[in-house]
Symmetry: C2
Subunit: 331 residues, 2 copies
């Protein structure tokens, strides 16, 4: 395992220590070492919280910042934050107007968020939740509530974060975040497996010359293993999946986000985007805004996710609203 680390058990603490020191202008420590808070949260705003397992940088702490999430709960590598961490994140973000907890639909996170919400209510902190479920490959359309959250969470945080920053009440923030994720579909292609630092070897396999379509961020199996395709082939396959699940009418507008999975050279993400852009143009779908980079990764996995959000005027305004965090800056 060719990696940069000390004792694998310390990786989350050490990563957070480094992160907090680099971005002291944007984020700060709280009393709970697994909770990061935004600096200078405007007084009186509705709180926005996220959280999830580590290993997905810049998610989740990288989306804490100005007009984005106010706090994030941090879990171990690929495992949910504790209920206590979510609760402390709610406490860090609540200013009496309640908290929107915008997280990904995984069983561990669901359980811990549910417990934390109950504990918070006892303290008089009202929390409403949205569990992102943008990953098309993880369950059929009839069972959308079973789908996982992946890079579409970035759009959910952007929409909810902007809405809260505009002074909205909790129910409006929740509605904006829910609309964002309801309008969003993602799919991933894995080219190599990832290695949990504490394990030291890949916990699944992707054979050279093949690719796994619909792979999850923790190596959850996808829809299909097939022969490695060209960038054009991958683009078509991914676009067919996300647009097939949420068809666009002519002249409808999209936000597109292409994220590397951690070990994918940036150059290749631009090559893929070039194909996506051409495909969308042929279909008459206008790409209003595109994001290409490492937005939501999976340790050292090679591969990519495509995320597409169908836009309306409100979502466009929320995307365009200024924001500053490590994962995304909007001027």
């Amino acid at each position: 395992m060719q990696r940069i680390l000390n004792n694998p058990d310390d990786i989350v603490d050490e990563m957070l220590a480094g992160f907090l020191n680099v971005y002291g202008n944007l984020v700060e420590r709280t009393g709970n070492p697994r909770v990061v808070r935004a600096k200078d949260i405007p007084p009186g705003k509705t709180g926005v919280v996220t959280g999830g397992g580590s290993g997905h940088k810049p998610a989740f702490v990288g989306y804490v910042g100005k007009n984005m999430c106010d706090a994030a709960a941090v879990g171990e590598i690929c495992s949910s934050p504790t209920a206590a961490a979510f609760l402390d994140a709610f406490r860090a973000a609540d200013q009496g107007r309640g908290v929107a907890c915008l997280y990904g639909n995984y069983s561990g996170d669901n359980m811990n968020v549910r417990m934390a919400v109950k504990m918070a209510e006892k303290e008089g902190i009202h929390v409403e939740t949205v569990a992102a479920n943008d990953d098309v490959a993880s369950a059929p359309k009839e069972k959308r509530e079973k789908r996982r959250g992946v890079a579409g969470e970035v759009f959910m945080w952007k929409a909810g974060g902007a809405k809260a920053a505009q002074g909205a009440e909790l129910d409006e923030v929740i509605a904006a975040a829910r609309k964002a994720i309801d309008n969003t579909r993602s799919v991933g292609i894995g080219l190599t497996p990832c290695t949990l630092p504490a394990v030291g070897h890949p916990n699944f396999e992707i054979k050279e010359g093949t690719m796994e379509v619909g792979i999850g961020h923790h190596g959850e199996p996808g829809i299909e293993v097939c022969g490695l395709e060209s960038a054009a082939g991958m683009a078509k396959r991914m676009a067919d999946i996300v647009l097939g699940d949420n068809p666009f009418g002519k002249k409808e507008e999209a936000a597109v986000l292409i994220s590397g999975l951690g070990a994918t050279p940036m150059m290749e993400l631009y090559v893929l985007y070039n194909e996506i852009e051409q495909l969308f143009r042929k279909k008459g779908i206008h790409i209003y805004k595109a994001y290409v980079g490492d937005y939501f990764t999976s340790l050292d996995m090679m591969g990519v996710t495509l995320t597409v959000m169908k836009l309306d005027d409100e979502l466009k305004e929320l995307l365009d609203f200024p924001a500053q965090c490590v994962g995304m800056t909007q001027l």
Copy 2:
């Protein structure tokens, strides 16, 4: 080769097409398909140009933008842009006050820049150059002029770009860029080799369980191959090399840049920064500003570079000056 590409011969064109479509707010095409120009260059400013081979994203085109480079010449994968491309970049950036060409010290780039400067002079465009040589491992201290430019170029562009944006004359821009690179030292550690897409297999080897200290961005051999160390060990080794070459006095201040080499998980870069920060604190060196991410990569290589710039008041002011480009945003 598990990669996202079409015909490897088209990768630079396709990458540029994707890049230009994503960042149409920051950069634009020129008449030369291998020259990218910043949008809305302020009238009358001294020009700043860079350029280099492809495969180092976000370098070089990612440093074209507001208050950074005005234009970049783009080469094939790991090979210099042509003299014609550099010349067109000078033309794109010149507004009658001359052009600072801030690039990396490689023989191909040196040759093509030299030719382009001569051709430009014939057209009445005055160009002065700085060839970055921050890579300590590439030549001994007595032969600094032979050293390669690596991630320290980012500081050179930031300093020169800010100076030009402040309305400085060409000689002042050159002086600022030269001071930045003269005060900067870098060293890299390679953990895996990289693969040129057109070749399809790694063109050198790094054995599992070893690391190559001082590796170049194209796999140029380093100072030493040794057993893989912990993050703490790597940090100490790298800090000893850069600080040994350019010692800091007590209370001197540093800017630190840690860049992944393309396939390094971001989390591990923060772990390494945490070690560097502690080492510097023990030595009494204050880190004024830190940058951790993919700033200057090498295709799909795993590994990292450490870059340290010794600061004075002018360099601090230039780092803090607002800038916006894909590789770095300063608010």
